[in-house]
Amino acid sequence: MANAEAPIEEVRSKAVDVEAVADAAERLRAASREAIGVTGDAEVHSLRATLRAANVGLYPVVALGSLVAVDQLSTQGLTIMGPEISGSLGIPRGSYALVLLLKTVVIALVSLPLAAAVQRRARRALVCIATALAWTVLTALSGFVVSVWGLLVLSLGAGAATASTRSVHEPLLLDSYPAEARVRIMSVYRGFDRVGEIVGPLLVGACTALLGLTWRGVFLAMGVTSLLATVVGSRLRDPGFGRWDTDRVRRIVRADAGQDEQLAEDDVQLGFFEIARRVMLIPTVRRVLAASAVVGMFLAPFFTYLAFFLQERWGMGPGARALFSAGTPVFGMVALRIFSRRGEELFRRDPAELLRLSGTLMAAGVVTIALGLFTPLFAPMVFLFGSGIAMLIVIQPAMGLPMYSIVPAHMRAHLAALQSIFIFGVGGAAGLLLLGGIDRRFGTAGAILSMAVPGLASGLILRRAASTVNTDLDHMLDSVVEEEEVKALLAKGTRLPMLSCRNIDFSYGQLQVLFGVDFTVDDGEMVALLGTNGAGKSTVLRVISGLGLPSRGTVRFRGADITFLEAERRVGLGIAQVPGGKAVFGPMRVVDNLRAIGYTHGRDRKAVEAGIEASFDAFPRLAERRNQLASTLSGGEQQMLGLATAFIIRPRLLLIDELSLGLAPIVVGELLEMVRQINRQGTSIVLVEQSVNVALSVVDHAYFMEKGEVRFDGAAADLLDRPDLLRSVFLEGASQGLATASSR
């Protein structure tokens, strides 16, 4: 490797200081916030003017709205016509209820694979159209069902298809409209959803009462209605990920760097689970999802119990209940109309205010509904229930926009799918299980009243989520800005360090152990990471190797962001770690340990065998013990076996944790010589050590950590001139030595 030949300090001086990127990010953050609609003021132009200025029409929201208005027709048909379908086909009520329950579960679960289907390519419009066509056909086919089996297959199929409205619709809608109009557009979209809630029961009523159709005829009519909506939506096109937010930010950064053309996209793309894990690491998202689960406990059983309450308390039959169900969404539509402009103002001023409003609305909504339970007069009961439900409806756009704004555009479908699972899967199931017993003991009103508790709790969680939303928004913008900066530097021909960690925060649960750690390693370089016990050295290695994920900051390898990449994939990129202590599989033979590591070569047996032979050449003592169990090796031999990793997978970056721990000086000397040999072959090395003498004898550059922060970053020789830092290490070593002596 050419770089290994060059003097390290020369290489380092050529590499760009990551701090330059950080400075630029700070300067661009304000511009980025403005670009995604957080301007700090509350100046909102009319929707028409905003859309005209952005040169976009109402078609995307009308198309997606038409689809969401009909997506639940099949479920509404199954619910309203339940007795007729059950009686006509001779399906027991229990089996019928199970079909409906499974359908709900499928809707929640399928939203995740649908998110995965759109994570790499922006084909959300295609997915929306295809799934709409699928549920249209399956809804119409439901009219031809003759057995519970057929009903199950068609219901689950239609349910799976409608999952696209949960995971794909809103992310597509956000990318179709400029940031300045999104709250209003999401409110319009939710308005269409309410129209669907009104149209469904009315369609059933019209088909049965006016046209004299059976449930089969109703499903055919629903199929035709869905087909009309699908035709309306058939001209939907995907505008690409982040057209109106992250792309805007990228353009600002490129303009700042004096580059107009699109840079080559050569990032390391995250897989499905990596994206899901990355999204879940965002504090606000975790809180919103927790709130969603609690909301689900309230929301999912509420509408079931509401029907029983209306029947028991007010003697309302199926027709009256259907009318009530069709009427309450009207309150929601009025509330959305009032909210949309106000919500836009709040988002522009501060996204946290929108989340706080969601929390307040949640609490106010459940209290209003609880009041409705005890109202002796019918009209006030309808008003209170309608108002309470309206407040809950407004939460969707109010909570949705801040939530979507803090994740990159291509990850929003995953977030939507996760939220759907938390609401309907986690929360819904828990709510139904918990409330069964309460219903039996205190009646339906008691069950609904008890649901107020999770409702109020979710309100509090949402308000708490408001405290982190701005920080998370800035983190998201910073990562986009930094990515563009790095691309711009690469395009200019600037060489970047092999590994750069920037602003890394890491926590074990609630305990934060790394605080804004910056760490750089260049090609062919050997650096030492020193510090006292518990300083966070090993944690830095875990973040680099992917065994631990940071709560903030980025890890870049050869310019590409690998912060959230799986550890296995990092091995493929050339990052390997020798863990501290026993880095071996004890019950396996030495040669089998090496073969196990060789699996990283896939099926290339020749390469594996060649690597094993190279290891044995480098460590003759291992060759002598090739058929011995690894657990029977001495400590030094086990470290040798760990180091032999480098000869098998030939990493570009080798992370060695506590090489000298508990070993005799002569053995440490042998190991250090092997480390030098590995480095001479071109592998960059990070050596984590508590022994300053050991580390500084082999490295040119050193970092010193204390209490989770980097306190020194410079030439190894300079560290020896910092007694203020080294004293703690020596004192710790001395106290350990004294403790050992006294124990003897």
Binding site: I91, V145, L151, L213, T214, Q311
Partner: protein, 160 residues
């Protein structure tokens, strides 16, 4: 099996799955108005004992009246209503009139039945005791004709 191959199998299986649970013949898309339940009226409150009456036109069949339970599937006989572990199944004449009465099932050629008692359905004393009566048509051998079903919901007042 590779991904593409798996997808092909899935697409091939789809029509089989759908076809096995669907049919095109003998389905009713328009409501059957031949039977009209006259009493009790929808959501009416009745007291025990009470009478269920209905009018019928152009019907050449027997009537099976069920309370709060699902009828048998179309083309199935009354015997399919008897659980597999019921002693009644040992007898060739099962289900006989006594078994039907014990299980709140009424088989008649007429257009009314008298109901002496119904099991309470409500889960707590504040709730109303709601019930559902279902009428289906049977042929001479006790086989269900078509998928027509006539349903009415009502409330029983138990004076407590």
């Amino acid at each position: 099996m590779r991904g593409r191959s798996r997808r092909r199998w899935a697409w091939a299986l789809l029509p089989v799955l759908l076809g096995s649970g669907c049919a095109a013949d003998g389905l009713a898309f328009v409501r059957d108005d031949r039977v009209d339940i006259l009493s009790p009226s929808s959501d009416a409150t009745v007291r025990l004992p009470f009478e269920v009456r209905w009018s019928a036109s152009d019907v050449d069949a027997r009537y099976l009246v069920l309370f709060d339970r699902t009828p048998m599937r179309p083309n199935r006989t009354l015997r399919s209503l008897v659980p597999s572990d019921d002693q009644c199944r040992m007898r060739p004449s099962c289900p006989d009139k006594r078994w039907l009465t014990d299980h709140d099932l009424y088989l008649t050629d007429g257009t009314s039945i008298r109901v002496e008692d119904l099991p309470e359905e409500r889960t707590n004393h504040r709730a109303k005791d709601r019930h559902e009566v279902t009428i289906v048509l049977l042929d001479d051998r006790g086989r269900r004709i078509g998928e027509s079903v006539f349903i009415r919901e009502f409330i029983v007042d138990r004076e407590d």
